[in-house]
């Protein structure tokens, strides 16, 4: 993993990025610190989606529901119970991964478009309940002013919290993808029938994949509450699910860092194009159409393909 010139270079690049991100609050204004944290959270969400989408080949059409459930899990723990607040940070992701498991049990019997549509209908059910249950979830208003623990209530401390947690989560996901489990997962993506043929339990692996992706989606949701201090049902609306699908596509869904790049691009577009024109979604739509036409592998995927030395493809796969 750490051998070769290219890896050495990426290690330096990574270290530089960590230093820049860690020192960002020292020289950036509050708004930009918040902005960076938002990119990280969205990027973490998109990466967790890509775990099953790009590396597992599952049509995860409604990933945002795990994000929303994670966020609501924390917000409800902090507002409705008097349990120690750190529990909420665990409960959020755990509930999200449990939901992912239950939904997975129902959905993994199907594949591709049918899987995606069944997931959307299950996710929409969760959304509808949250949207209407005023007495418990606040209905369409959501919950505002979630009482966060004092230690992460300032923007700088919540930024560092987000940085550390998403760093750890990304590292874990990277390890999962490169673990034997991750390899089998990618084999299933490439050819489910053959994987079945060599004795892989496809459905069980897909179910575990759902569980993991749901967990990290929930982590992203918890982090969202940390930086935003509020939750609302749009967090688990199907529209957001498609937006994060776009992020994966934009960055490149066969790469690990692609979704992060895509998330950064879209969050930046939304924040800054929005200032100049109210028609920012039209800009996004046109970017997306061009992308699907010309770079279906995504930006990072395209460059990875281009930068790969000729003839090295097969060997790199083996290594």
């Amino acid at each position: 993993m750490f051998n070769g010139f290219k890896n050495w270079k990426s290690l330096v690049l990574g270290a530089a990025l960590v230093v820049i991100l860690a020192s960002a609050p020292l020289f950036l204004s509050r708004f930009y610190v918040y902005f960076l944290a938002l990119i990280m959270v969205t990027g973490l969400l998109a990466t967790s989606l890509n775990l099953v989408l790009g590396f597992g080949g599952m049509y995860q059409f409604h990933h945002a529901v795990f994000y929303g459930v994670g966020a609501y899990g924390l917000a409800l723990m902090l507002t409705k119970t008097s349990l120690p607040s750190f529990l909420g940070f665990i409960v959020g992701p755990v509930v999200a991964s449990l939901l992912a498991f239950v939904m997975g049990l129902i959905c993994v019997r199907l594949s591709k478009l049918y899987f995606g549509m069944l997931q959307i209908s299950l996710g929409s059910l969760v959304w509808a309940v949250v949207f209407k249950w005023y007495s418990f979830t606040g209905g369409d208003d959501g919950i505002h002013g979630v009482p966060l623990p004092a230690i992460i209530s300032s923007i700088t401390s919540s930024y560092y919290f987000t940085l550390i947690v998403s760093g750890v989560a990304l590292a874990l996901m990277y390890m999962i993808i490169n673990s034997p489990f991750g390899r089998i997962f990618q084999a299933i993506r490439d050819n489910p029938e053959r994987s079945e043929g060599i004795g892989v339990n496809v459905k069980a692996h897909q179910l575990v994949g759902q569980l993991i992706a749901g967990f990290f989606g929930g982590v992203a949701g918890v982090l969202f509450v940390t930086i935003e201090g509020s939750v609302f049902p749009d967090l688990m609306y199907w529209h957001l699910s498609l937006e994060i699908l776009i992020m994966c596509l934009l960055g490149g869904w066969f790469t690990f860092w692609g979704p992060m790049l895509g998330a950064a691009t879209i969050v930046t577009l939304r924040t800054f194009v929005n200032v100049y024109t109210e028609y920012w979604t039209a800009v996004l739509a046109i970017v997306l159409m061009l992308l699907i036409y010309f770079l279906p592998e995504g930006v990072l995927g395209y460059f990875q393909e281009r930068l790969k030395p000729r003839g090295a493809t097969a060997q790199q796969e083996v290594k």
């Binding site: 199907l110 049918y114 209908s121 929409s124 739509a285 997306l288 279906p296």
Partner: protein, 298 residues
């Protein structure tokens, strides 16, 4: 949170009619979606946007002709035609190059159209609510067995079967319809016998989008015409299509019936969570018949 308030027979009958008229709209829109999904295999998320554009066009056409009843009848014809024209341009310009892509890519491509169309609607019509009044002959209600039934609902109940009949005739009795059904099953083979599949696809796409526009024009007098119309509808239409079986027109009818009735009867049983009932129905159906109630085309 009141559970099961007093359900009277008259309330039940009225809700049943409301559900049926909702079913008509849902059927018209989702049969178009189903047609496109079944033959072209494009999960067209922008279908809901075309429905919204249909409603706004109906508003504009009616307003252009002075808001009278003649304007409304013209709008019912012209608005779907306008939507069909837009879809023809989009299909010939962009979609026809993308048929071999994966579903996911097509889904995201149509999603980008949804985003684009929303901004186009905002640009053309602004972000205000619009409303359209039905012609005098369709206003008010008729009383039947002592219960009032809105005339417009009855009008919808007449239109719905007519559309179903027309669609059935088109797909089963015309040459083009037969070719399109063959193309849904095996497009290479249809191409191999010397038929220009690309234009068959264009035809089917335009018909599907015409139905979206028709649904939008028909729904316009019954609700506020607004920006969010596409959101709620497209998800419902997709679930109906999946529940009924991809590409199966009768499946779309059955799905729309289940969706419309669970929604309207659910309002009587548990008003607060009425929105939940159709989703539960979809899940129950898919639990037992994962590929939909009726036979899917692929």
């Amino acid at each position: 949170m009141e559970f099961a308030p007093h359900i009277t027979v008259s309330a039940l009958a009225q809700q049943f009619l409301v559900g049926l008229s909702r079913t008509t709209i849902l059927f018209i829109v989702s049969s178009g979606l189903s047609l496109v999904l079944g033959v072209l295999r494009i999960p067209n998320i922008a279908h809901g946007s075309l429905y919204m554009i249909g409603a706004f066009l109906a508003y504009s056409v009616t307003a252009f002709f002075g808001g009278g009843s003649a304007g409304f009848w013209l709008a019912l014809v012209l608005a779907p035609l306008g939507v069909a024209l837009i879809s023809l341009a989009v299909e010939r310009g962009l979609f026809c190059h993308l048929y071999d892509r994966e579903h996911l890519m097509l889904l995201l491509f149509t999603f980008s159209f949804m985003l684009l169309f929303r901004d186009v609607v905002k640009l053309v019509w602004g972000s205000d609510y619009r409303s359209l009044t039905a012609p005098a002959i369709l206003q008010g209600s008729v009383s039947f067995l002592g219960m009032p039934f809105p005339r417009y609902s009855i009008f919808l109940l007449i239109i719905g079967p007519l559309v179903a009949l027309g669609l059935w005739l088109l797909t089963n009795k015309t040459r083009l319809g037969k070719i399109s059904r063959a193309a849904a099953v095996d497009r290479e083979m249809v191409g191999a016998v010397g038929i220009n599949v690309s234009w068959v696809f264009a035809f089917v796409f335009v018909i599907g989008c015409f139905l979206a526009g028709l649904g939008g024009a028909l729904v316009a007098p019954t609700q506020n015409i607004n920006q969010g119309m596409d959101h709620t509808l497209i998800m419902e239409a997709f679930l109906i299509v999946i529940m009924g079986g991809l590409g199966n027109m009768w499946g779309a009818l059955l799905g729309a019936l289940i969706f419309g009735l669970t929604d309207s009867i659910g309002v009587l049983i548990w008003p607060q969570f009425a929105i939940v009932f159709p989703y539960v129905a979809v899940i129950v159906v898919l639990l037992f018949r994962p590929k939909g109630l009726l036979k899917a085309t692929w």
